[in-house]
Symmetry: C2
Subunit: 132 residues, 2 copies
């Protein structure tokens, strides 16, 4: 179950504010970015937060992938976003596809500051050595 | 958007194998663990992988929380699981609740080995200093 988990906290996103506030826009962006990178979308769930007056107040959501998942949470009042893209390399190395989604979304959000983490997860399963 | 992201890769899980293979069982465990810890479940999406003969071959899923998310992926053939519990501390400190879910699930899976990571995400937003 060796895989790559890319984590980013994005500050001061200079994108259209609607992208951080409107569920459908963010959902479409995330699902399409995964598909365009060549990842397999199995399903997704996005939730629209609202203020007491009914105005949109941020979005939180996940895209479940055959290769693992994407998760995103937005704070439009501060123009901040947290992003996770995690892929396992079970049948092929998906690291470049994860990086493509991650880079694409950061390009769209256009943050002033990005704090990133890169976590290599799981052991690489080695084939059994003959005769041992 | 200060928060705590707990990451674990679990090897050799000694739980009932059905928990790693059956979507409904895993989904119920994860959703209930979040609720029991006091986190707010907004929705979830779990997917059942199958072999060519239709037998269950692992489960992947996410629980979307008001506080952020839980994500889980299982490899029953190796008895391995990857787990993420991420909570933001927007209106209160949810760190102890995240740790409760994380500990509860690891207790249930009973792995021989756990490789964990703890990522503190986001700046702590400081209140503006008066007169500055």
């Amino acid at each position: 179950m060796n895989g790559l988990h890319l984590i980013a906290d994005l500050y001061g996103c200079r994108c259209d504010l609607a992208l951080l506030k409107e569920r459908t826009q963010l959902q479409t962006l995330c699902v399409d970015a995964c598909k365009e990178a060549g990842l397999t979308v199995l399903g997704d769930y996005f939730f629209q937060f609202t203020y007491d007056n009914g105005e949109p107040a941020g979005v939180t959501g996940t895209v479940v992938l055959a290769e693992s998942h994407l998760a995103i949470h937005t704070w439009p009042e501060d123009r901040n976003v947290t992003l996770d893209v995690y892929v396992c390399n079970y049948s092929r190395d998906n690291s470049a596809l994860a990086k493509a989604v991650y880079d694409r979304l950061i390009e769209v959000f256009a943050p002033v500051e990005t704090v990133g983490h890169r976590v290599v997860r799981g052991h690489i399963e080695m084939p059994p050595t003959e005769g041992v």
